[in-house]
């Protein structure tokens, strides 16, 4: 599960203010509608991350799922905790996504769209779409 450049947020130029950074507590989230896009913005220990609120499997509202850690693939009978608190589990079928990279943890080819999030000096929360 090394960082993969392909998993980094795409560069987008439009800045949309979605609220104040301090209204989302650590471990919390805010789901916002921007035009046709529903996006979930999550506050993890290392800052804000945003993913599209749409599961690539059957279209469930992914961002209503729960946040978990998971176990890194390893040797048989070895349980190595990984990605603590940054794994989003779809509320329908439980498929796992890393909200930092957008990658599905069940299949390297699967991913959910990620968006860059910034906090302005004034404390506004901005999503790049």
């Amino acid at each position: 599960m090394a960082e993969d450049p392909a998993g980094a947020p795409r560069k987008r130029s439009r800045e949309v203010v979605i609220g104040r950074a301090d209204e989302v507590p650590a471990g919390g989230r805010k789901i916002v509608q921007i035009d046709h896009l529903s996006i979930g913005v999550f506050r993890l220990a290392d800052g804000f991350h945003a993913v599209r609120n749409y599961c690539p499997h059957q279209g469930a509202e992914l961002c209503k799922g729960s946040l978990h850690g998971t176990y890194r693939p390893g040797a048989v009978a070895e349980f190595t905790p990984a990605l603590d608190g940054r794994v989003l589990r779809c509320p329908w079928h439980g498929w796992e996504f890393d909200i930092v990279t957008g990658k599905g943890l069940y299949d390297a080819k699967s991913r959910v769209m990620t968006y860059e999030v910034k906090v302005t000096e004034a404390g506004d929360l901005v999503v790049m779409v």
Binding site: Q58, G59, A60, E61, K64, G65, S66, R89, P91, W92, H93, G94
Partner: protein, 350 residues
Amino acid sequence: MIIDCDIHVYPNATCPLEPFVPARFREALTMKQGSSPGHGYANPFGVDRRDLVSETPADVVRLHLDPLKISYGVLQPQPGMSVSLIHAIDVANAMARAANDWLIETYLASDPRFLGSVCINMADPKGAAEEIRRVGSHPQMVQALTCGESLHLFGHRAYDPVYEACCETGLAFAVHPGFEGALHSSTPVGRPSSYFEWHNSLPLTYQAHVGSLVAEGTFEKFPGLRTIFVEGGVSWLAPLLWRMDKNFKALRSTVPWLREAPSEYVLRHCRLSTQPIEEPENPEHLLQLYAMVDAGRTLCFSTDFPHWDFDDPQRAFPSRLPAALKQRILYDNAAELYGLPARAEAEVVS
């Protein structure tokens, strides 16, 4: 039009079961005589969808029937579906009765789209038959229901009174999984070590029961009996049909009461609900699988609402599933099984 053959409903604080428990058994329940063995495998993330809470008839209508445009939904109540596993047989019968009266007074009374299951205690086939005759004539009751975990294979002659009562009242005989491991191991060679492996093993129970119903001659004894195997998916059936038909050529004389190929009995008397739908990487393989089991006759759509492995009627099937076949699966097969109105000829499923 859509018929959903698997919707789960539960008693709870707003919709309680207690008032429906026969008065003389309430003390037995406080003495914990309603206990049953568990299978021991917990879904670590819970079995319910986490984007909603469905606790009342109004919830199921608002969250499920209306938005998904479901014409009829067959309710599979729990704990009613697993009363067969309660150790105390009389308490099990009382809990079946409570589950059925609860369903009639709450869900069935609230909306004509709700169809009911008569929960039965298969550990007391005579008692189960009495319960089928007691409430099976309710116009919204369409099937007798039990769990796949069972003292005996379902072709065992001990269960004949149940099938006789089903035929007499016009109810289908329905089986739902999820309790495998309570009485026997969920696999014939030992207990799995994870919920993942346990869940993968559930279709083995259905292969065993269907093979038994055919070989024991149940469908010869009860030519009007119709069955539905819910929530087992579909992929387990074709290999069983082929193996039975092949073996029948040499071993027919050991089951001389069978008058036709085993697969003929299954295709005529057994229906499967689609969920959890198989999702092979190549969707064409699912269509081939459906062809192998004559899906246009045998498959009935189900969602498993509100559980975690729910299937959405518009999202679950491959886009290349032919429209005519999709209509059969979404509505017609279940309508024929349960004796519901035929779909209007002009109506097209999107």
